[in-house]
């Protein structure tokens, strides 16, 4: 009994001792984390500066909310209008471009809506609606969800009003949504990174890519210490500076899955 308690307390001790190392909290998105980018990127930064980066992965909307509450020092998401609003509200100091990737339209190989090989995402969406083919939406205020809604708008469809049972609003992260799409044999808009590392593809494949509307820009913002005094300003800024530095940008470009580059650095200096 006694020994058990001792092991327990030393475990707890280790857990808290862990916390003595300098760290920052970064709110990012599930798609970014699940792409595996952070596992590749963060050890490089940590080795260089000794600052541990703790990533909490949520949807873009939630990540920005986390920043607003001051529970994160840095937000690293991909929904530019929402990010600019965040800065305008005073919660962020300044927004920096970091990298971009693209979304892809995933769907069943059988392709009932006949969108395969097309170059116009809005047109593809129109076809999916007319065919009433099952479509999975993330519905979670994420960057991907936001992009999806923009495409419906571009297609001239008021999706909130005109959706039918073919439109499955699941309120899930990218991975679970892909699982659902695989299970339902449905169309879904996904970021390329998550798709490349997604293993449960079932009958799904990339049907459409390359449309400018599918361009997905990532931004990084330091949470404003004036509004949230607990923010670790110096360390957070150090992370941002590194990510947009030539070294950080190179590390981003070097990340590949199956030989394919996932993210394309485009920070301006």
């Amino acid at each position: 009994m006694d020994i058990a308690f001792r092991i327990l307390f030393s475990l707890l001790f280790c857990a808290t001792a862990h916390a003595q190392q300098t760290y920052i909290t970064v709110a990012s998105t599930t798609s970014t984390e699940q792409s595996g980018l952070f596992k590749h990127l963060l050890p490089i930064f940590e080795k260089k500066t000794g600052i541990q980066v703790r990533v909490v992965a949520l949807g873009t909307g939630q990540a920005l909310d986390m920043g607003r509450r001051g529970d994160a020092d840095v937000v690293f998401v991909h929904a530019r209008p929402l990010e600019e609003k965040f800065v305008a509200e005073g919660f962020g100091i300044r927004r920096y471009d970091v990298m971009y990737n693209d979304f892809v339209l995933i769907g069943p190989k059988a392709d009932a809506a006949k969108v395969a090989g097309g170059k116009d995402a809005a047109d593809a969406f129109r076809r999916i609606k007319s065919a009433q083919a099952p479509f999975v939406s993330r519905g979670d205020r994420s960057g991907t969800h936001f992009a999806e809604l923009e495409i419906w708008k571009a297609a001239g469809i008021d999706i909130a009003k005109d959706k039918g049972t073919w439109y499955r609003d699941t309120g899930q992260g990218m991975g679970p949504a892909l699982n659902s799409a695989a299970g339902m044999n449905a169309y879904i808009l996904a970021d390329r990174g998550t798709w490349l590392s997604f293993k449960n593809r079932a009958d799904l494949t990339i049907l459409l890519e390359g449309d400018k509307r599918l361009f997905n820009q990532y931004g990084i913002i330091l949470v404003n210490p004036a509004k949230r005094p607990s923010v670790k300003k110096a360390d957070g800024q150090a992370f941002i500076d590194w990510v947009i530095s030539p070294e950080g940008q190179k590390a981003i470009a070097e990340y590949r899955i199956g030989g394919e580059q996932l993210f394309f650095p485009n920070a301006k200096r």
């Binding site: 475990l11 596992k39 909490v56 992965a57 509450r69 529970d71 992260g173 991975g175 695989a182 590392s197």
Partner: protein, 234 residues
């Protein structure tokens, strides 16, 4: 069926490979859940005993409430604790959000009603046997209740194991207050959730089997200890 068999195979492989990342996740899971159970036991046993032995207005309502709280949804507890510990919340200054400490806190809240309610039932039943003798000796109130709790400690072990089961199985609370941060607050259940959402179902299933095996081993150890001690103390 074959998926399960493959997963069992995979689980064995995981255990034998001794991956340090997996080891870290397992140790953290054990640390968090066991700590929560210890805290909940230290608080819950006296609480349950006090309610069992005490006589006060509204006692029956308290008993019903305590029983109902056994069914607290983990995700709701997680949400509540998150709002408390958030920098924008009342306890934000503690700065323990997204640390194992927050996870222990949330799980303690989850497990406390289970241990307290089951203890209350056990003590109430035992009180029938012990009451007259203890009162005759002059033991009263809190002293008598604690004496009773120590005397029925082997029966209470089951209550504690129920609490441990709940803590090691839940994912909702630790996900929200821990943030599932790689290397810091990632435990077995949140890893399983993550791998599932990444679509790596075989790995998720294998991890699930490792988790079940772990809890099984803990229960077996507890049973063995209880058995040996019971034979010694009668």
């Amino acid at each position: 069926m074959s998926a399960l068999w493959e997963a069992a195979h995979g689980a064995l492989g995981l255990i034998l490979a001794g991956d340090p990342a997996l080891r870290g996740i397992v140790l953290l899971s054990l640390g968090v859940s066991l700590s929560a159970v210890v805290c909940a036991t230290l608080l819950g046993l006296p609480l349950g005993a006090a309610i069992a032995v005490g006589r006060f207005p509204g006692r029956r309502a308290v008993v019903v409430l305590l029983n109902a709280l056994m069914g607290l949804p983990p995700v709701v507890v997680g949400l509540f604790v998150y709002l408390m510990l958030s920098r924008a919340g009342p306890l934000g200054a503690l700065g323990i959000l997204f640390t194992p400490g927050a996870m222990v806190l949330a799980q303690t809240i989850l497990v406390l009603p289970i241990i307290a309610a089951l203890c209350r039932q056990a003590v109430e039943d035992a009180w029938i046997e012990y009451e007259e003798q203890l009162r005759s000796l002059g033991a009263r109130g809190p002293g008598a209740a604690l004496t009773l709790v120590w005397d029925i400690r082997f029966s209470l072990l089951t209550a504690i194991l129920a609490g441990l089961g709940r803590a090691s199985a839940e994912v909702g609370a630790v996900m929200i207050v821990g943030g599932n941060i790689d290397g810091v607050t990632r435990v077995m259940t949140t890893t399983i959730a993550l791998e599932t959402s990444k679509g790596d179902l075989p790995l998720a299933l294998s991890l699930g089997i490792v988790l079940i095996g772990l809890v099984l081993a803990l229960n077996a150890a507890a049973f063995y200890v209880k058995d040996a001690a019971q034979r010694r103390y009668g």
